[in-house]
Structure formats: structure tokens, C-alpha cells
């Protein structure tokens, strides 16, 4: 605590005070985590093609240590939801997310995974953040590989800012007894139509 002045209204998040040892350990752990983020490619649609292109030789995810796709959530670090998610697939992604061991992050790749994209209708989830906690949103339809890699770099930056003394991280946010993992008003708020979708209220 000595050299760092904490403002009086700041929320103290860590159970132990940050010191040289914890910060060095954090640096080590975060370096290890960011250097080989094994993705779980949850590719459903067109964004999956761009994801595959990113993994190819021209754009190369291998330079981030991410060429080892883990199709089992047990060995995956980051769930990359690439593509639109129908409501019918919602319990599947929720279960796969629950089966990933901590530490885990989620990248919502593309417009459909982030907000439902062009599919503002009865069958599509309006953003996977209504179902799982998302760390990075990558916009695009589909995002170019450079866009996805920028999102991955943002995630790596976020991971580097983590500390093991923070109790709010690495918490399993499960689906509650009411059947949702967020309060219903929040789900409705996240699923609000925006842009031109606002005018599309007719049934035909």
C-alpha cells in the first residue's frame, strides 16, 4: 500500500494488498496465459470462415499461440463465438461455457454474436452476452481477420491487467434459479433493437 495512494472513495477489490511479489507473480501468470490462449472455436456461421482464415497462413493466429484449437471445452481458455446463435443453440453454448475450467474468457466475434446482427427476430439470440459473460466484442459482418486479431490483442491486454488478488475475477456466473444468468430487465435492455431495427415493428 505504501507508495500507491488510494482515493478515499475507491473500492478496494483485493484481499491482499498488491506488492512486489504479487505483481511479479501476476506478470508471470498473465504472460503465460496470454501467450497461449487456446481457443474453443464455437463457429456457427460465416464468422467461422473468417476465423478459419485468421488461423490460416496469411493472417496466422499461431503467432499468438492460438493455433491449437481446442474443440473440447476442457482444454480451452477462450470461447470464440463466431457466428449467429439461434435460441435453439442457447443451452448448448451455455453448457459448453459452464464446462470450461477457469480461467476462461469469451470473445464475441461478429455482429450476430455481439448483438444479434441483422437477425432481429423470433429465433436468434440478440447477443450472446445475454447468455454468457463476454470479455471482448469484435464488430463486423464478418470482421476481417485483422479485426479479430485486434480483438484478441485487446483480450490479451485485458488479461495482462488482471491480478490474482482480485476476488471478482474467476467467479463462475451460473444461470440462476429463475433460468437466466442476468436479471430479465438487463436481458431485455441488451436485446433492444437499435439503428434501423427500431422501425421494424410490423409483423410482415
Amino acid at each position: 500500500m505504501g507508495l500507491i495512494a488510494t482515493p478515499p472513495d475507491a473500492t478496494v477489490v483485493s484481499s491482499t494488498s498488491p506488492n512486489w511479489v504479487t505483481t511479479r507473480l501476476d506478470f508471470l501468470a498473465n504472460w503465460a496465459r496470454t501467450s497461449s490462449l487456446w481457443p474453443m472455436p464455437f463457429g456457427t456461421a460465416c464468422c467461422a470462415i473468417e476465423f478459419m482464415a485468421s488461423a490460416g497462413s496469411r493472417f496466422d493466429l499461431s503467432r499468438f499461440g492460438m493455433e491449437r484449437m481446442s474443440f473440447s471445452p476442457r482444454q480451452a481458455d477462450v470461447l470464440i463465438c463466431a457466428g449467429r446463435l439461434p435460441f435453439k443453440l442457447a443451452p448448448v453454448i451455455r453448457r459448453i461455457w459452464d464446462q470450461m475450467p477457469q480461467p476462461k474468457w469469451a470473445i464475441s466475434m461478429g455482429a450476430c454474436a455481439s448483438s444479434g446482427g441483422i437477425f432481429d427476430n423470433y429465433s436468434m439470440v440478440q447477443g450472446i452476452d445475454t447468455i454468457i459473460p463476454v470479455d471482448v466484442y469484435v464488430p463486423g459482418c464478418p470482421p476481417r481477420p485483422e479485426g479479430l486479431m485486434y480483438g484478441i490483442l485487446l483480450l490479451m491486454k485485458k488479461i495482462r491487467g488482471e491480478t490474482f488478488t482480485d476476488d471478482r475475477l474467476r467467479v463462475e456466473k451460473l444461470v440462476g434459479p429463475d433460468g437466466l444468468y442476468l436479471p430479465p430487465e438487463r436481458v431485455d435492455e441488451l436485446s433492444e433493437p437499435f439503428g434501423n431495427s427500431v422501425s421494424q415493428t410490423r409483423s410482415s
Binding site: T130, D178, P184
Partner: protein, 209 residues
């Protein structure tokens, strides 16, 4: 509209000769022949089209339905047929009054492919196919409560709020109905839903047929 024109498929006239008044109307649109049939005789008409050697419509391209923009127009169920040998197409339609029961006989006994095609029509429009072996939803999940999505009176985003839709979607068991063949092993028996266990106990071993 009932006089045969040069572009009309010869099947239309053959149908008129065979079924007379059951053929309500014949239309030609963009080179396709469309035959409107009364609901009572539709199965006979389809069977005749499949089995008569001169017609030989052995390939059911699609079964679908139309709900027109104008609410007073009836709902139409459409069968798109093709004769592979003759390379001929035919469209057969039945008009269903939206006030009455949306019931049509199945053509699964004629074309096995109609199984899923009719399930899709049921799922999206609510048309029941009498005699279908497995009449349940196919695109939406089986316990989908909001109604029939492709009808014109169904709002684009569904009836329920997004939170409610998410909640219902997350509560669905995606494996609620596997084919009985796959689940007839003793291992999975304990986990089967009650109605499937009943069917297995009564001796059903496979899916339809």
C-alpha cells in the same frame, strides 16, 4: 383460366379428366403450372399423380405453405412435384380457410421425404397433417410456446419478451427426442422421458416404418 393454354402442363388437363370438379382451378405463372385442388381429394390427386405411368411424379421437391399479406385470402398448402424421367414440374395447392381447422392429409405414405417437409410446415404455419407418423416441430424446439412464426399475424420478434424467450430457450433439453433406435439401448433407458419409455415398452424399436 380453365381453358388449356399452350404453356399449360398436360398434367392439368389429365387431372381434370380424372378428377373433374375436385380440380378447382388451373393457373400458369412464369412458366409453372399450378393446380388448385379441393382439400377432400388432395391425397387421391397426389397418389394419382405419383402412380399413374403417364404422370410419374416420383420426386416431391417441396411441401410448403403460403400465408398471404391480405388477411382475407386463405392459407395455401403447396406441393411442388417433379417427374424425374419426364423432367416435368407441377405445383399442387390446397386452399385452407383460416377460420376452419388447418388440416390436410399427409403424403408421407407416397413420398418418405414428406416427413420433414410436413413437419416444417406444421412448425411454421400450424398446418396439421393427418396421418403423419411424427408430427412435431422441427426448426423451433419442440416445446416452443409462442405460436407459428411464419404466419402473417406473428410479430417478427415473437410474442414474448427477449428475457422470456431466453429463459425458455435455456430451459429446453436439446435431447428430448432422439429416434427410438438410438435410444433403445439399456444404458440410455433410465434417462429417457416418460413417453419414450412407454413407446419402447410397447415394443416399438425403430422410428417410423
Amino acid at each position: 383460366m380453365s381453358a388449356p393454354t399452350a404453356a399449360q402442363s398436360p398434367s392439368a388437363q389429365a387431372l381434370r379428366d380424372a378428377f373433374g370438379a375436385a380440380i378447382e382451378r388451373v393457373e400458369v405463372s412464369c412458366g409453372d403450372t399450378i393446380v388448385y385442388v379441393s382439400r377432400e381429394r388432395i391425397h387421391d390427386v397426389l397418389a394419382w399423380l405419383k402412380e399413374t405411368p403417364t404422370q410419374d411424379f416420383d420426386y416431391l421437391t417441396d411441401v410448403t405453405a403460403v400465408d398471404y399479406r391480405d388477411a382475407e385470402r386463405p392459407l395455401e398448402v403447396v406441393w411442388q412435384l417433379r417427374s424425374l424421367a419426364r423432367k416435368a414440374d407441377l405445383r399442387v395447392k390446397v386452399r385452407l380457410d383460416k377460420d376452419g381447422p388447418l388440416d390436410v392429409p399427409t403424403c408421407w405414405d407416397l413420398w418418405r421425404g414428406a416427413n420433414w417437409l410436413e413437419r416444417e410446415v406444421f412448425d411454421m404455419f400450424g398446418v396439421n397433417f393427418a396421418g403423419h407418423p411424427d408430427m412435431r416441430r422441427i426448426l423451433m424446439w419442440e416445446t416452443y410456446q409462442e405460436g407459428f412464426p411464419l404466419r402473417k399475424d406473428f410479430p417478427l420478434r415473437g410474442h414474448f419478451s427477449r428475457a422470456e424467450q431466453t429463459r425458455q430457450a435455456l430451459a429446453v433439453n436439446p435431447e428430448a427426442h432422439y429416434s427410438l433406435e438410438e435410444l433403445a439401448t439399456a444404458d440410455a433407458y433410465r434417462n429417457l422421458p416418460q413417453d419414450m419409455r412407454e413407446r419402447l415398452r410397447r415394443g416399438e424399436r425403430g422410428g417410423p416404418e
